[in-house]
């Protein structure tokens, strides 16, 4: 792929993301129309008169045509105005800004664990396909996917955090060291359910690379040991998993929502769960928007990475 070709591909992929983002914005906007209850009634309280309700409707813009309401919604989103929480004390955008770094750190540490666990087990399993280690790892992997993440989190709390005292029982830190320590166990719980997916893809990639002609040629030329594994096996086996990247990140994000509750991590997932429990509409709507945009961005980055790494992707 030429440099210009790549540039054009990235540009076109960016353009494709625009209509998708608009559809998502429309869906998130439509949530307000689906949720039971009259928004004006919620603002005014149950004893408001018809005239007050009408005034509030006009104030909220609910008397305008739906398409105009959508345009106004887009305008508010563009300026970062996502409303306030149900108690009115905090802006939703402030809540999101506070939770985002927590969730991002959790995702980053989980990604490292996932790659290390999946890479090590895939190398071990691929050493002798269908051998004892391979079968054992396959069974454990099938098992790992079925273990609920939040329950594994609880087992880690009871079995590791409480007896050793090396990790906090929940909550977040305020220095890099305490933050990392707070992220280790939840990230581990999260990785166990996601690593098998990456492991399966890596394993078949490694087995295939070992059977290839370039591998045989490198071996015949006297390349041995770790150099052979690194340069001729791992580098080629890593291409298919890169296309899994977006799907894996989405899986991790999905799991993070639950595991943040188990460990009381003040991230976006905990905010989502609490807002669902308290029926806090603005928070749910704002978070859904953030998660949607994150998914669009992750898929965009994933596609671009695949295009840059794999010469076979035609532009």
């Amino acid at each position: 792929m030429t440099g210009r070709g790549r540039f054009r591909f990235v540009g076109r992929r960016l353009l494709q993301a625009i209509p998708l983002t608009l559809v998502l914005l429309l869906l998130v906007f439509a949530m307000l129309k689906v949720v039971p209850g009259d928004p004006a009634l919620q603002v005014a309280g149950p004893r408001a008169s018809a005239a007050t309700l009408e005034a509030i409707r006009i104030h909220l813009g609910l008397d305008q045509p739906v398409w105009l309401q959508f345009v106004h919604y887009l305008g508010r989103v563009a300026t970062g105005d996502l409303g306030t929480t149900a108690t009115g004390s905090t802006k939703v955008s402030t809540l999101i800004a506070a939770g985002t770094p927590v969730t991002l750190v959790l995702l980053a540490v989980s990604t490292v664990f996932t790659v290390v666990i999946a890479g090590a087990t895939a190398l071990l399993a691929a050493r002798r396909p269908d051998g004892l280690a391979d079968r054992l790892i396959n069974v454990v992997a099938a098992f790992g996917v079925g273990v609920p993440t939040f329950w594994l989190g609880i087992v880690l709390l009871a079995g590791v955090a409480l007896p050793t005292g090396a990790f906090p029982i929940g909550g977040w830190g305020d220095t890099p060291a305490t933050v990392l320590r707070a992220a280790v166990l939840p990230a581990l719980a999260l990785s166990v359910s996601v690593a098998p997916v990456l492991m399966a893809s890596l394993r078949s990639g490694i087995v295939e690379a070992r059977r290839s002609e370039y591998h045989a040629a490198a071996q015949a030329a006297g390349v041995r040991g770790w150099t052979l594994t690194r340069r001729f096996v791992l580098r080629n086996a890593a291409v298919p998993p890169v296309s899994l990247l977006a799907a894996l990140t989405t899986l991790l994000l999905s799991g993070a929502v639950v595991v943040e509750s188990t460990f009381g991590l003040p991230g976006l997932g905990l905010s989502l769960t609490q807002a669902a429990q308290n029926r806090d509409f603005n928070v749910i709507q704002g978070l859904t928007l953030v998660f949607s945009l994150a998914v669009v961005a992750v898929n965009l980055v994933g596609d671009v990475l695949v295009a840059l790494l794999d010469p076979r992707v035609e532009v």
């Binding site: 998708l20 559809v23 998502l24 949530m31 689906v34 949720v35 039971p36 269908d130 396959n138 992997a141 099938a142 098992f143 996917v145 079925g146 273990v147 609920p148 993440t149 939040f150 329950w151 609880i154 087992v155 709390l157 009871a158 409480l162 098998p196 997916v197 399966a200 078949s204 977006a246 799907a247 989405t250 899986l251 994000l253 999905s254 799991g255 929502v257 639950v258 509750s261 188990t262 989502l272 769960t273 807002a275 669902a276 429990q277 029926r279 749910i284 859904t288 998660f291 949607s292 998914v295 669009v296 898929n299």
Partner: protein
């Protein structure tokens, strides 16, 4: 994503479904039967609070110990199977049926219907499943019904893709054309000549998706958005026990063993089914 899809289908031995299918099915049947006879089996009442017997550790009398209200944890775990298993089975079956119908439509009708269905599938598949589930439950209110709707919305995609692929491949084949030429209606051609070819794989997916449906249900209830007390559900039990984790770990940990047992049983069933159907 169906579990089978995720972990790939390798090392398929040819032969009968073998003991795996039977063992898995018997395990699930036993668990379901035990949920109806829980009180008789353990000799304890699942709802009886006994404050003099709070937080008893696992012993011969209380295999899984007792909880913060002195209730027998094993009895409650067994009773909860009567909630979890049917909902997990439905949570796998409902999206399978919807996905098969939509996939068949998208493949057979093509045109704008097919495009619309598959674009919708892309959109849903790109979205993190727990977030979709939580948002839907927020819109519909907590409970088993909302869980089923959420599972249906999130999980039909796999089946739709599978069935659409098979239908697209088969609709051009001679015997389907012959059936059409013979004047058979679209519904009949679909049901009698096309769908049977896609069903075996869909059944294997659905079997393995029971685990996913169960983990969604348990997670929702764990977060307080699924089954509410006085209903008894494994995820809800795990959440109830979590504050007492420091000294009474069994209240929270034991119900998870039931989820894992179901996971193993379902894995055996799905593996056995796959071997049998691929013969």
């Amino acid at each position: 994503m169906a579990l089978v899809q995720v972990l790939g289908r390798r090392r398929v031995r040819r032969g009968s479904g073998g003991p795996a299918l039977v063992i898995g099915a018997v395990l699930l049947a036993l668990l379901l039967a035990a949920s109806f006879a829980a009180g008789t089996l353990t000799g304890h009442d699942p709802a009886l609070t006994d404050l003099t017997a709070r937080f008893r550790p696992p012993t011969a009398q209380h295999w899984f110990g007792t909880d913060q209200l002195g209730r027998d944890v094993l009895t409650r775990v067994l009773v909860a199977a009567g909630t979890d298993l049917p909902l997990a089975l439905l949570g796998a079956a409902v999206p399978a049926v919807i996905g098969i119908v939509l996939g068949a439509l998208a493949g057979y009708a093509r045109g704008w219907i097919g495009t619309a269905v598959m674009r919708l599938a892309d959109l849903i598949q790109a979205f993190p499943s727990y977030i979709l589930l939580i948002v839907l439950v927020f819109l519909l209110g907590p409970g088993g019904g909302s869980f089923l709707v959420g599972a249906a919305v999130g999980a039909w995609v796999t089946y739709a893709r599978l069935v659409r692929g098979v239908v697209l491949r088969l609709r051009e084949l001679d015997y389907v054309r012959a059936a059409q030429a013979a004047g058979l209606g679209h519904t009949r051609v679909l049901l009698r000549h096309v769908l049977p070819n896609a069903l075996p794989q869909a059944v294997v997916y659905a079997a393995s998706d029971i685990v996913l449906a169960l983990s969604y249900l348990a997670a929702l209830s764990y977060l307080g958005l699924g089954i509410q007390a006085p209903g008894i559900e494994w995820g809800q039990m795990i959440a109830e026990g979590q504050p007492f984790l420091r000294n009474q770990w069994w209240v929270s940990v034991m119900p998870g063993l039931a989820i894992i047992l179901v996971g193993v049983a379902v894995r055996l069933i799905a593996g056995g089914l796959e071997r049998r159907l691929q013969r």
